[in-house]
């Protein structure tokens, strides 16, 4: 996934680049604001644009309109203005979303993720890892002929594991994810939930499905 950053503050765009690269996005930044930005990004490969509203020599709303005339890449406005009219203008000019400075890292990443997802909807009914099946509609997990029902947060946890197999998942990562889903858990409650989830997996003969990696986190494979 490639994200183009259009922001005139040098420090800010550098930090944004680092943040996004740390989260596995490819990043292209625009540094020249003397030339029209629209022409510069025309031939760049991109899945999403982060666009500042106040730019030297040009204005984010106009850039957005021009880009939208040419292609349908999603655009998120970033701005320090908190005025309603700017929010309204960003919608009118075709922007997908709007975030104000100083952005909260989690909200920014979540908005990026959602915006990209909306443009590329992938609809699964179930996910399978190592013969264990997670049914996304019924929120049950199955192995061979056994199945067990999951509560909402158990399901969310397991969904995260299923969508990131073979990766070591840290507690922080899980907490970030759960908070984004409006489950405001702390460290201890997360551990309790994981243990409960393991008990349920035991019922379908998969007690070691979620492995603990000492001092790092959890993993499924």
């Amino acid at each position: 996934m490639t994200i183009v950053i259009i922001e005139d503050d040098k420090k800010l765009r550098q930090e944004l680049k680092i943040l996004l690269e740390n989260n596995n996005y490819k990043v292209t930044i625009i540094e020249d604001f003397k030339e029209a930005v629209v022409d510069q990004i025309k031939n760049i490969d991109k899945d999403l644009i982060l666009l500042d509203i106040n730019l030297p020599n040009q204005n984010g709303f106009d850039i957005c309109k021009k880009i939208k005339e040419q292609e349908s890449v999603p655009i998120i406005f970033v701005t320090s203005s908190r005025k309603e009219e700017d929010e309204l203008k960003s919608i009118i000019s075709g922007g997908e979303d709007f975030i104000t400075k100083p952005y909260n890292k989690d909200i920014l990443l979540e908005k990026i993720k959602r915006t990209i997802k909306q443009k590329n909807p992938i609809q699964y009914k179930e996910i399978k890892v190592k013969d264990v099946t997670l049914d996304l509609h019924l929120s049950i997990v199955k192995y061979q002929d056994k199945s067990v029902e999951l509560t909402r947060n158990e399901f969310l946890l397991l969904y995260y594991f299923f969508t990131h197999p073979k990766k070591i998942i840290t507690k922080e990562e899980l907490l970030d994810y759960l908070w984004n889903e409006k489950y405001y858990l702390d460290d201890n409650i997360l551990t309790v939930n994981i243990n409960r989830l393991r008990k349920k997996l035991e019922e379908i003969n998969q007690p070691d499905f979620i492995k603990t990696i000492r001092k790092q986190g959890y993993k499924i494979e």
């Binding site: 503050d9 420090k11 800010l12 930090e15 944004l16 680092i18 943040l19 740390n22 320090s80 203005s81 908190r82 309603e84 104000t100 400075k101 100083p102 952005y103 909260n104 890292k105 989690d106 909200i107 907490l175 908070w179 984004n180 409006k182 405001y184 702390d186 460290d187 201890n188 409650i189």
Partner: protein, 330 residues
Amino acid sequence: MKYIEENIWLCLIVIIFTLFQSIFLFLLDVNPSLILLSGTMYLLLLGIYLAVGYHMEAKKKKEIEDLVDNLDEKYVIAELIKKPKNIKNQGYYYALKKACKSMNDKISELEQKYQDYEEFIESFVHEIKTPLAALSLYSDNQNDQELKQEIKKMDNLVEEILFYARSEKPEKDYFVKQIKLSEIIHQVMMQNKDFFLKNKIKIKTQNLDIFVATDEKWIIFIINQIINNAIKYLDKQEKIIEMKGYEEKNKVILEIKDNGCGINESDLPRVFDKGFTGSNRTKEHSTGFGLYLCKKLCRKLNLNIEIESKEKEYTIVKLVFPNSSLHTRK
């Protein structure tokens, strides 16, 4: 009586004239009863004149008073009253006109100054957000939680400045829409997530799937202030912040409860006062503006804010959203 005092010269002249005429007529040997009659006539005429005059003046006074009382902006009165015929009153009229004019000039000067000031604040806040955003991302990338917390505090203070300036503004600059309590709370939670996790604060939410009609940014600011305030006074081993929504008599109520040190009963009525930081709650820096500003913004948004507390046990802040006809449950 005042009126007779004012017309004292007229009265005296008439009385003296009557007296002289009576003496003169008496010397001319005119019938005393006739003299008495003419004297009484003069005094009667004077009496009628004074009575009618008083009545008319009083009526005029009442008219002017009523006019002023019915005006919202009293200082436009000079434009509305008729120019008096009485020479003395013309003097007052002149003075009133001049006074109102100079006051109007002063008001527009102050309004202009205030507007400039407000624009300055807006643009200042706007400008400072960019370096703050850069710093905030820098602290994220370096994973420097301490720096991040300090930046968060700065951002809160900057927001306070902005909303204070906005709260003083006479015209409305908010935008009311339907929004779920859970959405509002979610944004506040995400803003404070790192702090909550680092300080092991337990968050409990309950029944927040209720819609309210309000301005999103303002309400987020208000709740953020309440939460930030609650955080400061958490003193127990197990720190808990609870948020719950419920409906009651056409109202939606959002309750934010913390199990912190609570507020002294005698301090409770003063927590919404400007600059009040508590008589014994001296720890942590505080501008004393947070709750004052909340109250002020709530009044503008037509919300009620209430506070309940038991010292050493808990504090509950209730936000009451009125008028249920707009609120629908999902």
